[in-house]
């Protein structure tokens, strides 16, 4: 069991590195898909079954389908450019060092001991109990966010939305 989890953890990192290396857009998208599926396995191992299935359905399903549709509509085999300057490199190293340092500080500052795990803490019932009582307001607000997203994407999908030259003339 544990060896399987280590394999999936390594696999997710390898897929992420593959995303950095690949030159074609479609390969990057498929590597992201593999990475998401590996992370979903890790979620399910950490007792987050509901979220893990949601990861498979929402991320690996619908989000990746959206990405693949857009990529096939545009140029799927176009090469991607890189920028690699030494100034950018030092910037990376400092930013990543900062993140690592901060997170190590947080990890070592926090308590070492793991709470006694009871799988009933993580059941669907416990999750929905909290989601529909304490977190009811965010739950309702996020439905409005979805509505705004739908309206926005319909507006951006309109045909006669052009560069702005005509708009200036009309205004």
């Amino acid at each position: 069991m544990e060896i399987l989890i280590y394999i999936f953890a390594i696999l997710s990192v390898l897929f992420a590195i593959n995303m950095l290396i690949q030159k074609k857009m479609i390969n990057v998208a498929l590597s992201l898909l593999g990475c998401m599926v590996s992370i979903a396995v890790l979620f399910i191992y950490l007792y987050a079954t509901f979220v893990g299935m949601l990861q498979l359905i929402v991320y690996a399903g619908s989000v990746m389908v959206l990405f693949l549709i857009i990529i096939t509509l545009l140029d799927p085999f176009g090469k991607i450019k890189y920028t690699f300057t030494s100034r950018l490199w030092t910037f990376f190293v400092s930013i990543i060092g900062l993140i690592f340092g901060l997170l190590l500080y947080v990890i070592y500052g926090s308590e070492k001991k793991v709470e006694a795990i009871n799988s009933s803490h993580f059941s669907i019932k416990a999750l929905s109990d909290r989601l529909f009582t304490i977190y009811l307001l965010p739950f309702e607000v996020i439905s409005i966010l979805i509505l705004v997203g739908i309206i926005g994407s319909i507006y951006f999908g309109k045909k006669n939305l052009t560069d702005g030259d005509e708009d200036e003339n009309n205004a």
């Binding site: 953890a9 509901f50 959206l66």
Partner: protein, 103 residues
């Protein structure tokens, strides 16, 4: 199911994934690919949420991940609409060529 892997392992893993995503956002020059790396960073943050939820024995982290997922789905829908619009007007996805706001 016996637990031998500590939650810290997953937090380190999410750190590594987040760093790779950050490098990708800064290095790659293609709008869609940058967008995918943002999704990778969101996934890494979700993983750390789940790991802490496991470590603390509380289910709240999973609820936050639920909200982040909804947010990411909306973000992808709107963002890909914007990318299509930019491609239709500029015929390019290269962020170096998309400098509409410059003049």
């Amino acid at each position: 199911m016996k637990m031998k892997i500590t939650p810290d392992f997953f937090i380190y893993l999410s750190m590594v994934l987040f760093s790779i995503g950050l490098i990708g956002v800064l290095v790659r020059r293609n709008l869609i690919v940058i967008f995918m790396f943002i999704e990778l960073m969101l996934n890494a943050v979700n993983l750390s949420f789940i790991a802490y939820s496991y470590k603390l024995g509380q289910v709240d982290g999973q609820i936050y991940v639920f909200f982040v997922m909804v947010l990411a789905a909306v973000e992808v829908a709107v963002g890909l609409g914007l990318i299509m619009l930019i491609y239709r007007n500029k015929k390019s996805l290269d962020v170096d060529e998309i400098n509409i706001m410059k003049n």
